[in-house]
């Protein structure tokens, strides 16, 4: 500050007596409070110097103006002066503020707002308008962002609920409150558990896969996440033929792999919603099938613990059941988890193709049977896939469909627990498989026999029964012989009715593992004893083993040929005697000539060979029998494997030798 420094002195802070009253009370001045002291100090601030300075400045300014009007003024002079004035005012204000900061109370007597200038008003207004405009713009951005977020949420929900509604068309969708207290939203689950087919007797634990949670993926679409290897499939095979570790059908594995792969690709949003829903349906279907396979295996396990016909458990462990079905055949049923990836699928493809023995290919059997005896037993196993399907079908039909149709049905029929009622599902399955394997072997034997004998025809009769198979072996008389007979008998209609049979039948029926052979044209025991040539229309019925089957068939065929030849001879009026495999013609002077059949199942060229045996009428039978065992007898001639044409010709020659019939 310019000017002289003035100093004011305060009184010492001594209490001076102010007055004394008549009673002697001394009165001192009251102590001023701290605030009052400060106020008094502030009031003592003299601003007169500032006012004087202002007046002086104005005076000088006028003087300068008047004296220097002619001279040029500095263009910034006024601004400098204004700044100086402002500085002074600021100094005062700063002092005031410092005083206030020091907790000095300041009493503002009065303040008048300076009247704003027009430009200041407009500038303030402009600033306010700009500020408000900025505010609205920010609001606009906020609304746009919110709108975009809400639209995305709407789109996500539309996709999610649209997919959920489509899933609900085929699956049971339920709501489930989430356990967390913080989240009050609902979750959705898909319930794959079928509780309509379980009664108290056959109660099964619901699978862990029965409820599947529906989640949201990153795009808002519903997603179904399954833990790896949670799905299991039924695996069936024959021990020694199929490996127990091979995973199930590659088609299913590829489906699951492709579903997983498509789930990964889903993140790229390259798969349309329709395709994704289809894949989800496929995945749920596979889970459903996995649950069904679990139920099937559990039911089989329970039945395995109950004694029933056809069930012979030879091994059991977790998710694995091994059963013996007789004749050295053993099967296994297991639950295996699904494979993990496509690479493993490709590797397993090769392994499974090389490990699985080919199916019912009997052509190879004929080539191999002479070389590898053990391979003969390996072949003839039914298709593994068909067995799995059959197992699932019988379980589904007998346990699920019947349980739905007959809710009051007892558990015995459903599970087949008691052995008294017969085999249960598992027993029925084992018996069916055992029969199938055995019947395949029977068929191999029959075909081997029929292939070697040209006049035998094999015909298969589908029985549509799981434990019964049937074939018929026809012995057909050649058409050339029949035509010749018809021409010779065309004038005799009655004889045509009595004409020789054109075919003989041998029926082979396999029930489980029992072979029944039934054939006509064979002599019965009574006529053999009577040594008569009565027309026997009896039918042989007997059971035999698999090893004896070729011999039985050949014997039956040979006896039918003998029977046919016998009837042919009778037709031409020649009396012949028929033994089991021997047809005897009587010659003159008591000599006999016999046509004898010899069967040999090991003969690969044909099973039936023929001998011509001549007997002298004076020779006793016993001696003839002894001669028969000689090494080289002149009474026997080996004719070899003869067709029916040749046999017929031989017969006619023998007939003519006998003196002929009425037709010669």
């Amino acid at each position: 500050m310019d000017g002289n420094l003035e100093i004011s002195l305060d009184k010492l802070p001594i209490k001076r007596l102010e007055s004394i009253e008549e009673n002697g009370v001394e009165r001192y001045p009251s102590d001023s409070s701290y605030d009052e002291k400060r106020v008094s100090l502030i009031r003592r601030i003299d601003f007169a110097w500032a006012l004087e300075d202002d007046e002086e400045r104005e005076r000088k300014k006028r003087q300068k103006k008047s004296s220097k009007d002619a001279s040029a003024t500095w263009q910034w002079q006024s601004m400098v002066e204004n700044l100086q004035l402002a500085h002074q005012e600021l100094s005062v204000i700063i002092d005031l503020i410092n005083t206030v900061d020091a907790n000095d109370a300041v009493t503002v007597a009065g303040m008048t707002r300076p009247k704003p200038l027009l430009n200041e008003v407009l500038s303030d207004l402009a600033v306010s308008a700009a500020t408000k405009l900025q505010c609205y713009r920010q609001l606009g951005k906020y609304f746009k962002q919110s709108a975009k977020a809400l639209e995305e949420q709407i789109a996500r929900e539309a996709r999610f609920y649209g997919a959920l509604i489509r899933l609900q068309q085929n699956w049971k969708v339920k709501r489930q409150r989430l356990a967390s207290a913080a989240s009050s939203s609902e979750g959705f689950i898909i319930d794959l558990f079928d509780n309509s087919l379980y009664d108290s007797a056959a109660m099964c634990r619901p699978s862990s896969l029965s409820t599947i949670r529906v989640d949201h993926d990153s795009a808002g679409m519903l997603a179904i996440n399954l833990p790896p290897n949670s799905c299991r499939s039924l695996h069936f095979g024959f021990l020694g033929v199929h490996s127990a570790d091979i995973p199930k059908e590659l088609g299913k594995i590829r489906t699951r792999g492709s579903v997983e792969q498509c789930t990964r690709e889903r993140e790229k949003e390259s798969v349309s919603d329709d395709e994704y829903i289809k894949e989800t349906h496929t995945l749920l279907r596979e889970v459903h099938q996995s649950i069904f396979d679990d139920q099937v295996f559990e039911m089989l396990n329970r039945e395995a613990f109950n004694q029933s016909i056809g069930v012979n458990v030879t091994g059991i462990r977790e998710n694995y059941l091994q059963l013996s079905i007789g004749q050295g055949n053993t099967l296994f049923i297991s639950l295996v988890p699904s494979s993990k990836g496509d690479d493993q699928d490709a590797a397993n493809t090769q392994d499974s193709e090389s490990a699985i023995v080919p199916l019912d290919s009997f052509d190879n059997v004929k080539l191999e049977e002479g070389k590898h005896g053990t391979s003969k037993r390996k072949w003839g196993f039914p298709n593994r896939t068909s067995c799995e399907i059959y197992l699932q079908q019988i379980v589904h039909e007998h346990a699920f469909v019947k349980a739905k149709d007959k809710p009051n049905l007892s558990g015995t029929r459903v599970s087949g627990q008691s052995g008294k009622d017969g085999p249960g599902l598992l027993g029925h399955f084992c018996l069916s498989l055992a029969h199938r394997i055995f019947s395949n072997r029977v068929l191999v034997e029959l075909e081997n026999v029929v292939c070697r004998v040209p006049y035998l025809h094999l015909m298969t009769h589908p029985t549509w029964h799981s434990q019964t198979s049937s074939w018929t072996i026809f012995l057909k008389v050649p058409q050339s012989i029949l035509h010749a007979e018809s021409q010779s008998l065309k004038s005799d209609f009655q004889n045509m009715k009595d004409a020789v049979k054109s075919q003989f039948r041998t029926k082979v029926v396999v029930n489980d593992d029992r072979i029944n052979v039934e054939g006509d044209g064979a002599p019965n025991v009574v006529s053999l004893f009577k040594r008569s040539s009565e027309n026997i229309s009896s039918v042989n019925k007997y059971e035999c083993d698999l090893a004896d089957l070729p011999v039985i068939i050949l014997l039956q065929a040979a006896s039918q040929v003998i029977c046919w030849l016998h009837e042919e001879a009778l037709m031409v009026g020649i009396k012949t005697n028929r033994d089991f495999l021997c047809l005897t013609f009587e010659l003159e002077q008591g000599d006999t000539v016999s046509l004898v059949a010899h069967v040999n199942p090991e003969d690969i060229k044909g099973g039936i060979t023929w001998w011509l045996v001549m007997e002298d009428g004076s020779t006793d039978d016993w001696k003839l029998q002894m001669d028969m065992y000689d090494g080289a007898s002149e009474y026997r001639k080996f004719l070899g494997h003869l067709t029916l044409d040749v046999l017929y010709s031989t017969l006619m020659d023998l007939v003519s030798l006998c003196g002929g019939g009425r037709n010669h």
Binding site: D124, L125, V127, S128, A129, T131, K132, C135, Y136, Q138, L139, Y142, F143, S146, L150, Q153, I154, E157, Y161, L164, I165, Q168, Q169, N170, V173, R175, E186, V450, C451, R452, V453, P454, L456, H457, L458, M459, T460, P462, W464, G606, T643
Partner: protein
Amino acid sequence: MNKGTGAGTGPTAAAAAAAAQKQKTMMQRVETDIANIVDNFTQLVNVARVNDPPVRNSQESFMMEMRAARMVQAADSLLKLVSELKQTAIFSGFASLNDHVEQRTTEFNQQAERTDRMLARIGEEAAASLKELESHYYSSAQRTHDTA
């Protein structure tokens, strides 16, 4: 959302009453949210005037932000309401669900019957083909030549 107006006792009446109450509640929520949006938007428009004191403008800017947030919140509430309605439609449309389930059941049963008939026909044709093939094979010259 109307589940009928059946009067009387029983679970159906109770369910109808619950549905009516729920509908009423939802309508109230809708009205509340819509009114909220309209009011806030009205206030936003009303404070568009520029006032002299800058302090008031600042005050109004805070108020505008608050009202905008309320509008967005009301819109979000409406969206949640729509979700609830969709869930109700999914889980309460028993008539359409039952019809669809029956239709699918019928389709599957028909498909099962068709499959069974087809399998039976395939079996019959296979048996007939087998019989024909066997007769042809055993009558063929190749077979007789092979065995001759």
